[in-house]
Symmetry: C2
Subunit: 330 residues, 2 copies
């Protein structure tokens, strides 16, 4: 019987989801103070679920908007609380992050929200700001750098992530939520967005995305077998360095717009000085088997997404191609 | 590249989801008056999404509660409109359906909601009541009999179904919604529950459950190749007859509590006259490779779910086992 055919309440699938949770707890050293939920609907669903679960409608919330995803989270929160953008990277086209000292946090805010890695803009937090609100609550969307490096979960009230970048197929969303934050959802919260329902039912309130959770479990096993997230981070640092070094050594032929100190290990956006060559670049790369290099439609240019599953050799191949392309067109 | 690795905005996946939608439109003869959405979160998410999308908070809505799922849909709707149970099968332990003439519909209701097939109780609508509310709106949860037989979609405002019973793996929810019902969601609607967002973006507003949608597409192809839903229904009728006949011919050793006229083609609940033998029945059946026969924890007894994917031979094997078991223990 395939995992796709199992009853989600049978002991076979129960042991699959329990093992997945337990391996993820090992990987991220998640304490028993936190619930680990396997949900559906992507980070976008959490943009609503978080304020619905932990805010009253009149609560202030601080948002750092460092890219498109942070902006979407902020806009969705407008429906359920009083969010304030305390810093935005928009005027710099989302190529930087704030210095933490200068963040004008609201002492009365319910929480501080950040997007740990902006997939489209390639901006990544290397460290995290201390939440200076009344309960010291920091919440992070880690969709695109989840399990790419160690994280001190205890610094966060909630960490959430769509699985599809580093840990599984699309259709699974992982929410790590401090247990004391569970159980006070607003009355208008759809049952499927209520953390208490899912925590009380071990993510089995209704039929979960069984096959996707099974795949996530296999990935967690593999990451542990690789030596855990410290080792995974080393590989990701090395991969990213090879690519950023190549860009920076191209004499301006390639450019990465992001400030060096906050460049993402996962998503490397770059442009060509001769922007008219970008179409050609994408086309020739595809001929060599390197696809999905076109930047997000909202920003243009190129973007290399080098998630956990991308091997160093893949990055080296791209860099060799980039040098060749520059020689031909430089 | 696997479907799991594709960008959901790449032309490869676009052609997969478009083909899936177009094949489903053929199967159910869905007109262009309807949008077909591939979503996440199961029918349970739709229990909230439907009133959020098409009701004002003060709107009355009529519910026929023919089992657990209809009851859950009603309870969730309490958050977003004024639902009324106009008929409940609870006092008969959900073994019957109402006669349509006697349904006390509210002329001012926004819609009439039914669950076309109650998975747990094995009660299935063979025909559908005419909605006598102001806009003639009938809405059905078809999660557990979707694509098991032809349906005249034009009789419904919305049909919705979790994919995992007949058409794909868990994690995909299909919503067929008349286009004029889209675009008036309540302000508190999470963006992921707003039909307009998904219809405007062809179900690609955020990353969809790509692999699950791909699998659904393969199933739709297969159902068309089988000759469409008329042929599929014939097979399902035959399978169900073999099993119900065996139960009814057992002289009371096996009993199906459901009224004959509304017995489900998909879920066949039955009990043993000697209920103390039920554990033994489930155990011996499992030894013969027939698993998941235990009734839902809320009702007990046994339940054989004989969805599209169950071949006639599987049902015949079960029936042979049932006869043998009766000879041994009768």
């Amino acid at each position: 019987m395939s995992v796709m055919e199992m009853s989600h309440r049978g002991k076979e699938f129960m042991s699959i989801i329990q093992k997945a949770e337990s391996d993820l707890r090992k990987l991220l050293e998640i304490s028993e103070d936190y619930a680990v939920l396997f949900l559906q609907g992507g980070a976008t669903t959490q943009f609503a679920a978080i304020p619905l679960n932990i805010c009253k409608p009149q609560d202030d919330v601080d948002f750092v908007v460092s890219g498109s995803w942070g902006d979407k989270a902020y806009k969705e929160a407008l429906k359920y609380c009083k969010p304030n953008v305390i810093w935005s990277g928009k005027s710099n086209k989302y190529t930087a992050l704030p210095s933490f000292e200068n963040l004008d946090q609201n002492a009365n805010a319910r929480y501080l929200h950040i997007c740990a890695n902006e997939t489209i803009h390639g901006v990544e937090f290397k460290d995290y700001p201390e939440a200076k609100n009344k309960d010291g609550l920091l919440i992070a969307d880690m969709s695109s750098n989840f399990c790419s490096k160690p994280v001190d979960v205890s610094k966060f009230g909630i960490i959430y992530a769509g699985a599809q970048k580093n840990v599984g197929p699309s259709g699974v969303t992982i929410v790590i939520v401090r247990k004391d934050l569970i159980g006070n959802a607003q009355e208008i919260t759809p049952v499927m967005l209520d953390y208490k329902i899912h925590a009380d039912n071990n993510s089995l309130y209704n039929t979960p995305p069984c096959y996707g959770i099974y795949m996530c479990g296999l990935v967690f096993e593999d990451l542990l077998a690789q030596g855990g997230l410290v080792e995974v981070e080393k590989k990701n640092v090395k991969k990213a360095k090879v690519l950023y070094d190549a860009i920076d050594a191209s004499g301006g032929f390639y450019r990465c717009p992001v400030e060096k100190s906050v460049r993402s290990l996962m998503n490397v956006p770059f442009t060509l000085e001769k922007s008219e060559l970008e179409g050609e670049f994408v086309k020739e790369a595809a001929k060599e088997g390197m696809v999905q290099l076109k930047g997000h439609r909202s920003v243009g240019g190129m973007r290399a997404s080098i998630y956990n599953a991308m091997p160093l050799a893949g990055v080296e191949k791209l860099v060799a191609f980039m040098k060749e392309f520059q020689q031909k067109h430089g």
